[in-house]
Subunit: 148 residues, 2 copies
C-alpha cells in the first residue's frame, strides 16, 4: 500500500535486501557505461590505482537504486528523485561482492510551489558483505501528500 508524505518521519530507517554483483554483470555495465580498463581488464586493473578489477561506481549507484525501489518502505510510494547530494565512493566494489543498503530519513520539508507533494532527504549507505560502507549519498525524494 502506498505511503504518503505525512506517514514518513525524520529518523525512519529501512534496510534493503542483498544483491550480488557478479563479474558478468560488472563487465556488461562497464562495457555499456564506463568502459575504462580498470573495470574491464584484470591485467590493466592490476596496474591501476585500484590494483584489481573493480565495478563502476555508477553501477554501485544503479544497484543501490534497485535496492531502494524494492525496499518495503518505499515500494508502493514511487521513488521520484530530484537530485543527489554528497555522493561519495568510499571503497572499491569488486565483482562478486554482495551489496545492501541502509536508509534513514534525515529531513522532511515542503516542496516549494507544491501542495500535493513534499520532500524527504534520505541518507543512503551502501555496504558490502563485510559491512564496509562503499558508497554514501543524500537522496532528495518527492513524495505525494495524501489527498484531502
Amino acid at each position: 500500500m502506498a505511503r504518503y508524505f505525512d506517514e514518513f518521519a525524520v529518523g525512519d530507517a529501512f534496510e534493503s535486501a542483498a544483491y550480488e554483483l557478479t563479474l558478468d554483470e560488472s563487465l556488461a555495465f562497464a562495457t555499456a557505461y564506463d568502459p575504462q580498463p580498470f573495470h574491464l581488464d584484470a591485467r590493466a586493473a592490476a596496474g591501476s590505482v585500484f590494483r584489481e578489477l573493480v565495478a563502476s561506481g555508477w553501477h554501485t549507484a544503479a544497484i543501490t537504486m534497485r535496492l531502494i525501489v524494492e525496499s518495503a518502505v518505499l515500494k508502493q510510494t514511487g521513488v521520484v528523485g530530484t537530485g543527489i547530494d554528497e555522493l561519495r565512493w568510499l571503497a572499491p566494489v569488486k565483482p562478486g561482492d554482495t551489496l545492501r543498503v541502509r536508509g534513514e530519513i534525515v529531513e522532511k520539508m515542503p516542496w516549494p510551489g507544491s501542495k500535493s507533494r513534499g520532500k524527504l532527504r534520505v541518507r543512503v549507505v551502501t555496504l558490502n558483505a563485510a559491512g564496509v560502507e562503499v558508497m554514501t549519498q543524500i537522496a532528495n525524494l518527492i513524495v505525494p501528500i495524501r489527498p484531502a
Copy 2:
C-alpha cells in the same frame, strides 16, 4: 595520450559526442535497476507525475559517464571519481532522446595526502537534442600528476 594534472586548467571545457537513448535500452536499464511503473509501462506512466514514459535518472547518469569517458579530453587519463555533488535531474529524459554532455573544470586543488594525484572539480551538464539541460552535477575527479 594521457594528460596529467598539470595540463588541466580551470576553465578548460569539453563537449561530448551524442548518444541516442532508445526505448529498448531504457526499458532494459529500468528493469534491471529502477523498476518503477513510470519507467516501464506507458499506461502507468500516463497516470504518473511524468504523464509519459521516462528514462531512469540513473540511466541518464550512466550515459553521461559513458560520454565523459569517451570525450577526447579525458579519454586516456582515466576518470577516477571520488564523488558527485549537487546532482540534479532538471527535466525528464524520454526514450528516443539524444543526449550529449558539456563539461568545464571549475576547481583544481591538491588531493590531501597524495603527492602523485590531484583533484579536479568538473561541472557536467547533460543536454537533450533541444538543448534543454536535463541533468547537472559537479564531479570530483582524481588525476595523476606527471611523474618527476
